[in-house]
Amino acid sequence: MGSNVEALTTVFTEFYYWVTVVFMFLIHVGFCMYEVGASRRRNHMHLLMKNTMLIPLVTITFFFFGWWIYWAFPNGPGFIGGLEDGSANAPWSPTMATNLSDRITGVFWAAFLLFSWTAASIVSGAVIERIRSTAFWIHAVLIGSVFWIIDASWGWHYAGWMVKVLGYHDAYASGVIHAIAGGYALGVLVVLGPRLGKFAADGTPRDIPPHNPWLVTIGLFLIYTGFWGFYAACNVPIISPEVIDGQITGVTWTATNIYLAPTTLGAITFNFLMSLSGGLLVAYIVSKGDAFWTYSGGLAGIITASAGNDLYHPIQAMFIAGIGTFCAYKLHYWVEQKFKIDDAVGAVAVHGYAGFIGVVIAGFMLWGQPSSPYADYATINPIGQFLGAIIMFGVLGFLPAFIVSKIMAGMGMLRIPPKAELQGLDHHSEIAYQAAVEDVTKAERELAAKQI
């Protein structure tokens, strides 16, 4: 760090990303509460373990290869060039460690890692109460440390080929995180099948209500809270035009989005809250006041508007959020009825459909605007956004999940046996718990009797 201004900028940036990571941790706490609330009592501990252990598995694999993929794959490789030099972000690089000459890589890596956990957690909710942990944790590594980070390298990198060629714009990850995770969840669900009892013999879907609606709603509130950190983490907090080294003239320092195009925290604060509100209002009406869907609708609203929330007017963000939420709700029930898909927490709808729709809407709303501060990039356009949404939801989300799940099902390692599903996944731990309680209370009663 050459000067005090440079030092302050670096340390501020370091601290900024660190704070976003702490905030984003709440997303995971929220997902755990949400899943436990939405499930039946006989599966709670299994669900918690399923969601907890994705943390270390995605973390270490994101260290070993996920982060390198982000820096090495912006050209495809093979679409507009070869592999980029990702050596500074390879797991054996001295900058991927305790290093006084690099204060940013660690916190930037961690911010992306928390997105990885989120992608895996989105899939987790959809498949509760019948997937084997073995299968889910392999899926968690694939979505968290491989597929989402490939799409980030393509469409969420200042030099990604989708940004350059398609003009792809997805500032707060409608497609890059949510559409891909929703598509991935759908790919697993198609092969996994519904929970026992979800559909009547004539195919009519049954509602499986959450055992604890309070926990579900508090979980969603925590996810909203963590989402603030997510939004902030998508920005570069302060940078000079000289460092960007693009087309911006003058010397005015700015915050930027991930593409290094200018934005402000003020703008995204307006739009975060207005899109949350648009989603909540429409979800309340369309679900006739159902708490589960009203809260989920708030999330769907933010997710729909996220692709363009660096540039929208707040009232535009509110209406876009409402449109996406309405479509996500209707699509959820249509797909459930038509294709017998049991999405236990509405994850495919809230993340997948809302994310897809948000990316497409941004193509019309931001048509002709620059996708990047660099010369010769395609401008934002509806066709580029539509293709981008298909790549996110279908090509990198649904397709690999479907193929891998088919392989797992063929090997008998995807779904738990029906008897275990009916008995509950906590059956053995509950028996051990009861035995331990009876043993210790019996011993204590005997000790108490001797004292008399």
């Binding site: 305790t98 006084l100 000459s101 008897k419 009916l422």
Partner: protein, 71 residues
Amino acid sequence: MSTNGMSSWAVDLKDVGAIYPFQGTEVILVVLGLAFWIGFHVLQARIEAEELANAERDFNAEHSGKSIDRY
């Protein structure tokens, strides 16, 4: 003698980079880390398969009914 090459902080920090011990072993650490990761999946798959086999073997309709009724 120092495991990271630093035996004093009487230095200009602009000249200091990595400060973790045993620099130069990074590739070995990565290989061991990958083995640790794969080993977890292998052992976990065995544990879960055994648990589920036991659950099937010990299935009890009455107990399951109670679990279902607890909702």
